[in-house]
């Protein structure tokens, strides 16, 4: 059953940047976009198991650091190959300066 998990502080992430968030055996990324919205997706690229936390955030997209696949962090939709599968996304909310994710 999904539950809200405290992932990080809002200011742990710069604008247009990303951090890795591990919970149990799973790995996620928390992205802060150019407008200070926060998103959570699976942490590994769907093309190969590359950690997206090393990638480049532009507005609300994340680019894989190895093969340049780009995903929309709001929807998980893949925008450029070689990845062909979308990322799973997870709901987020900000409370008292903390980013919570529903995983």
């Amino acid at each position: 059953m999904a539950q809200w998990i405290d992932a990080c502080a809002t200011d742990d992430i710069e604008a247009e940047d990303v951090i890795r968030f591990d919970h149990g055996p799973r790995t996620f990324i928390i992205v802060r976009d150019h407008a200070d919205s926060y998103y959570c997706t699976d942490g590994l690229c769907t093309h190969e198991n590359i950690h997206l936390s090393e990638g480049l955030v532009v507005e609300a997209t994340i680019e894989c650091p190895k093969h340049s696949s780009i995903f929309d962090c709001r929807t998980g939709e893949v925008e450029t190959p070689p990845a062909c599968e979308n990322l799973h996304t997870y709901r987020t909310k900000v409370e008292n300066g903390r980013v919570l994710v529903e995983v």
Partner: protein
């Protein structure tokens, strides 16, 4: 002596997997996130400047060559045009394929399509092929872009200076795609959803090549094919030499780009043609860094990398004798010393002993 089988279908791929060489665990020089984030930032201005210069020079050289035909005075202009078509387009294919040259995505896609046509490389197949090259760089049986296979066949390597093996292979694939077929090796790395695009692209390209040849025959002139198609042969030598230097004579089946790739200082003309891919170790380790930020990345990595080659001549002098020995001893390769400040090489999945 280990004999190598580069075939993607029946070659050494399973052996590489069994040895833990197909992995995400490649060595990377530690660089603070803030610096890496800054290095990955894109800008349109450098690539727009370079692209306008490139296309402007191509038009100027082609115009001069056509105007001087059939005089031999046209030859230098054809050669200059050919190098921009057959070599500079390789680096444009590369950078725009990574999506790093321009900040604006459609600009990368536009130049990528033109460069793919010039280089006779299907845009979809080579997108996936190059992704595999970055995943499994010079891993035998996995990397589809190994320029110099071992044991080295000197005539085959040398004949690529005029593009013969590459163009023969490119035409074979073009005709297969145009007839509706994806080749078995391509099927190992190209997602099926792109197969229809590959076939459609090949049919358009084939029509363009046939039109150029038909025009040449109809007008009894070499000019149409000297402009389209043949420059891939007579102008590719610079690309081929730079391609040899990327990995030639260095280790294979390792998990450290400092062992299998080479950074070479080059003159400004070659760097323009090659779009700074002479910083090749840096590029492989951090492929999201655009070509115009590679010199800055190079400075950050120096203490962890073997010394770069001082010039193309120096790199060739280092590499060619090794290739000559690899004709009969495919295991022989260079292992360059690391500076005392560097982390040890990572030969395989397990940490290597200190150098």
């Amino acid at each position: 002596m280990h004999m190598r089988d580069y075939d993607l279908l029946e070659g050494d791929g399973p052996r590489a997997i069994a040895h833990g060489l197909v992995t995400e665990g490649w060595y990377r020089t530690p660089i603070p996130r803030a610096q890496m984030k800054a290095l990955m930032q894109r800008a349109d201005q450098p690539a727009i400047r370079d692209t306008l210069l490139l296309f402007g020079l191509m038009i100027a050289f082609a115009a001069a060559a056509v105007a001087l035909m059939p005089s031999w005075w046209s030859a230098p202009f054809w050669l200059a045009y050919g190098v921009l078509y057959g070599s500079a387009m390789d680096s444009r294919w590369h950078e725009c394929g990574h999506g790093t040259a321009f900040k604006t995505r459609w600009m990368n896609k536009f130049v990528y399509q033109i460069a793919c046509f010039c280089m006779l490389r299907d845009p979809s197949c080579w997108k996936f092929s190059h992704a595999r090259h970055h995943s499994d760089t010079v891993i035998v049986g996995r990397d589809p872009e190994v320029a110099i296979m071992r044991p080295v066949v000197a005539l085959k390597v040398a004949s690529n200076l005029v593009g013969v093996p590459d163009v023969v292979d490119g035409l074979r694939r073009l005709v297969a795609h145009a007839s509706g077929r994806i080749l078995p090796d391509e099927a190992t790395y190209v997602e099926p959803v792109f197969h229809a695009t590959v076939i459609r692209t090949a049919r358009v390209w084939l029509a363009v090549y046939v039109a150029a040849i038909a025009l040449a025959v109809a007008t009894r002139s070499w000019i149409p094919v000297l402009l389209i198609g043949l420059p891939r042969l007579y102008g590719c030598w610079h690309m081929v030499i730079c391609g040899w230097l990327q990995h030639g004579g260095l280790a294979d089946n390792v998990l450290d780009h400092r062992l299998n790739s080479r950074t070479v200082y080059m003159n400004p003309v070659s760097r323009f043609i090659y779009w700074n891919m002479n910083y090749h170790v840096e590029h492989h380790m951090f492929p999201l860094v655009p070509y115009y930020r590679l010199p800055a990345l190079h400075e950050l990595c120096r203490a962890d990398f073997p010394a770069p080659s001082g010039s193309m001549g120096e790199a060739l002098a280092e590499m060619l004798p090794v290739l000559w020995r690899q004709r009969t001893n495919p295991d022989f390769h260079l292992r360059r010393p690391l500076p005392p400040t560097a982390n040890p090489y990572q030969d395989g999945p397990e940490p290597s002993p200190a150098a």
